[in-house]
């Protein structure tokens, strides 16, 4: 009896240790594949070399999506300093040793988004057309999306008892639905930001680099970064200078979900361990007393 139980305990401990050590032995090898870009994913191509910093896209975005203004100190201009719950799209300026460039910031609509992977109640969703959207009814306001977004995009209305998450949804219920493209791309006077199918935009971006290799950094930001984005960038100054971080090709979601799915595949491991523990606790309680 005793030997049997000990053997059983050992086996169970082995199984448990195996589950616990699985990620240890293989590390990131547990990561699942990145999600991939689909043919009908829509997005934008922003070419920083064409941007003249007129901020027409900012105005159009606020107008189309009914966003409040953020006046400057004198209260004359709408002059947001950064993305916030009042501003989903902004033009910023980099001026430094690597040159001068504008950069447009908004949700990147990642191909394999961390926010969607982490959201506990499926409030953030990757729609079939690639838009990362937010569902007001599902959201609990846990703000995990803010913590895990590599671009710090989702914003929260902290000073509201019924605060919402605010982020660019590519005008999916506004300009895109009404006029077939987001307000920012429609407003851009210089075609610095254009709307289209991401795969086509990628071809377009690469052609531009090929046509004027001296003008561009030889990289389309968003093709691979963190698993890729539906918003692509071209620039003449290094992307990190524009606040676009260097990211590994594997998305963070692929690592997180890979580990999670290995541990909890069909809930098998927890169920088996639960069963084993029940058996041990039962024996300990009702079995013959040994010592």
């Amino acid at each position: 009896m005793k030997i049997k139980r000990r053997k059983f305990l050992k086996g169970l401990a082995g199984a448990g240790a195996g589950v616990a050590a699985a990620p240890l032995l293989t590390g990131t090898a547990l990561a699942r594949e990145n999600h991939t870009l689909k043919d009908d994913h829509i997005g934008m191509l922003y070419d920083a070399t064409r941007c003249i910093g007129c901020k027409a896209c900012e105005v159009a975005c606020k107008k189309a999506n009914n966003m409040p203004v953020e006046p400057d100190e004198k209260g004359i201009y709408d002059a947001p300093r950064d993305l916030s719950y009042k501003t989903m799209n902004i033009i910023k300026l980099y001026k430094g040793e690597e040159g001068t460039s504008f950069v447009k910031k908004q949700c990147m609509h990642c191909v394999d988004p961390s926010c969607v992977s982490g959201c506990p109640t499926a409030a953030l969703k990757k729609e079939p057309n690639g838009i990362v959207s937010w569902d007001i009814d599902a959201c609990v306001g846990c703000r995990y999306c803010q913590m895990n977004c590599p671009y710090n995009i989702p914003k929260f209305e902290f000073n509201d008892a019924y605060g919402k998450i605010v982020k660019c949804e590519l005008c999916k219920n506004t300009n895109l639905a009404e006029k077939g493209q987001p307000a920012c791309t429609e407003a851009c006077p210089n075609q610095a930001v254009v709307f289209g199918k991401v795969k086509e935009l990628l071809v377009k971006a690469k052609r531009r680099i090929m046509d004027s290799p001296a003008l561009y950094i030889n990289q389309v930001y968003g093709e691979r970064e963190g698993g890729g984005n539906s918003v692509l960038y071209l620039s003449s100054v290094p992307f990190e200078k524009l606040g676009l971080p260097k990211l590994p090709d594997a998305s963070d979601a692929s690592i997180s979900e890979g580990i999670q799915h290995t541990l909890y595949q069909g809930l098998l491991a927890p169920v088996v361990i639960y069963g084993g523990l029940v058996a041990i606790a039962y024996r300990n309680r009702f079995g013959k007393k040994e010592d």
Binding site: A20, P23, S117, G118, T121, A122, C142, Y144, F156, Q260
Partner: protein, 386 residues
């Protein structure tokens, strides 16, 4: 079960309880403010960049690990069948039950859309890819399990002394006792899942988390450190609530617990260093900044605790036991604060320190927990007394 559990009795509204009530009232004042005006300033210093602060990190992450005693005692007593530790179970389960309940309460004021928490009960909102979803479901189920584990202690008050008349409480008690093996097994599986999940949340932070803490094995590190913390919470709490520190048998029992705790802490530190080297974080440890300072403080706390508790002579001194326990708990708490706040660098020059109201809400809730604990052990048979 031939236990000597007794209610402590005595007045409920003693001087210490009155003193503890002050921060509770302050916290309630600020909470009212939070629910009327939102979580932003002046209530908290949370921002879009650092949007998890002390409420989540102290109230939920650190809180859940500190009260992990219910898990480790269930493991030791019911799975490893070490019956002589049984006197530790009831107080540990009570601490866990209160701690986890308050972690849930912390979420109510931390999340921005608390009414949305009901969505966790609606299958169409379930998102099994999310580590946070898994943690939330496990924690909620575990509070329920802890309630069942603790409930017999409440019932015992209503069981008459003589065996002759078995009342309803006695019958229910015996049913629960017979089914305890089912509950206890949940009481081991669920914390294993969510304690590791609480670390796993950080994987999605990617490069925003310093390589001193970021690793694909962070779930395992959180689980191991939570076990060490659970063991040392039992040690510390038992030393605080015992009547007689000269009771040799009692101290011997505690020192065995501490030996296990020390070994687990050692495994944690070793694995921690393997991962720091693996992730290439070593250089970060020697930069001169808040991050490296906080990192070494964490290491020193664990190292000192392990050193203090290195031999059985030291471990038989309640003073050193208590000190070692507190150091480990501090180190484990700091490990969590470091992962989610200090080592978390969403953008250059993001600095977060909690506001006074934010801090007071966390402290007030902690005091309320202690008041409830004291009150329950006075009324119900939880603590073992000769």
């Amino acid at each position: 079960m031939n236990t000597n559990k007794k209610p402590l009795g005595g007045k409920i509204l003693t001087a210490p309880v009155m003193v503890l009530a002050i921060p509770v009232l302050v916290a309630l004042y600020f909470l009212a403010y939070r629910f009327i005006f939102g979580i932003g300033g002046p209530v908290s210093n949370l921002t879009d960049h650092q949007s998890w602060g002390v409420w989540k990190v102290l109230g939920v992450l650190v809180g859940a690990a500190l009260v992990n005693g219910g898990y480790v005692t269930a493991f030791i007593v019911y799975i490893f069948n070490k019956g002589h530790y049984h006197r530790f179970v009831a107080p540990a389960v009570l601490v866990s039950f209160l701690g986890y309940s308050f972690a849930g309460i912390a979420l109510l004021y931390d999340v921005g859309r608390y009414w949305g928490l009901l969505n966790f009960f609606i299958p169409k909102y379930w998102q099994p890819n999310s580590v946070l979803f898994e943690v939330a479901i496990c924690v909620m189920s575990y509070v329920f399990i802890l309630g069942i584990e603790f409930f017999p202690n409440i019932l015992e008050k209503f069981i008459p002394d003589s065996e002759s008349g078995k009342n309803f409480a006695a019958k229910l008690h015996s049913v629960l006792d017979r089914l305890l093996f089912l509950t206890v097994a949940f009481g081991v599986v669920l914390p294993t899942m969510h304690q590791s999940g609480l670390g796993g949340l950080a994987i999605l932070f990617g490069q925003k988390l310093s390589p001193l803490w970021q690793t694909p094995f962070i779930s395992l590190l959180y689980l191991i450190s939570a076990i060490a913390m659970g063991l040392f919470t039992v040690t510390a709490v038992e030393i605080l609530i015992t009547e007689d520190l000269r009771d040799k048998a009692f101290v011997t029992l505690l020192s065995k617990l501490a030996r296990l705790g020390k070994n687990v802490a050692l495994v944690f530190i070793l694995l921690r260093w393997v991962e720091i080297l693996h992730m290439g974080g070593l250089g970060k440890a020697f930069e001169l900044n808040v991050e490296s300072f906080s990192f070494w403080l964490e290491m020193i706390a664990f190292g000192t605790a392990i050193y203090l508790l290195r031999n059985s002579k030291n471990r038989s001194s309640p003073r050193l036991l208590f000190l070692g326990a507190c150091l480990t708990l501090f180190g484990g708490a700091l490990y969590r604060v470091n992962t989610y706040i200090v080592g978390f660098n969403p953008a250059p020059d993001v600095f977060y320190f909690p506001s006074l109201p934010e801090f007071m809400i966390s402290i007030g809730m902690f005091c309320l927990e202690i008041v409830i604990f004291i009150t329950i052990v006075k009324i119900f048979p939880v603590l073992t007394r000769e």
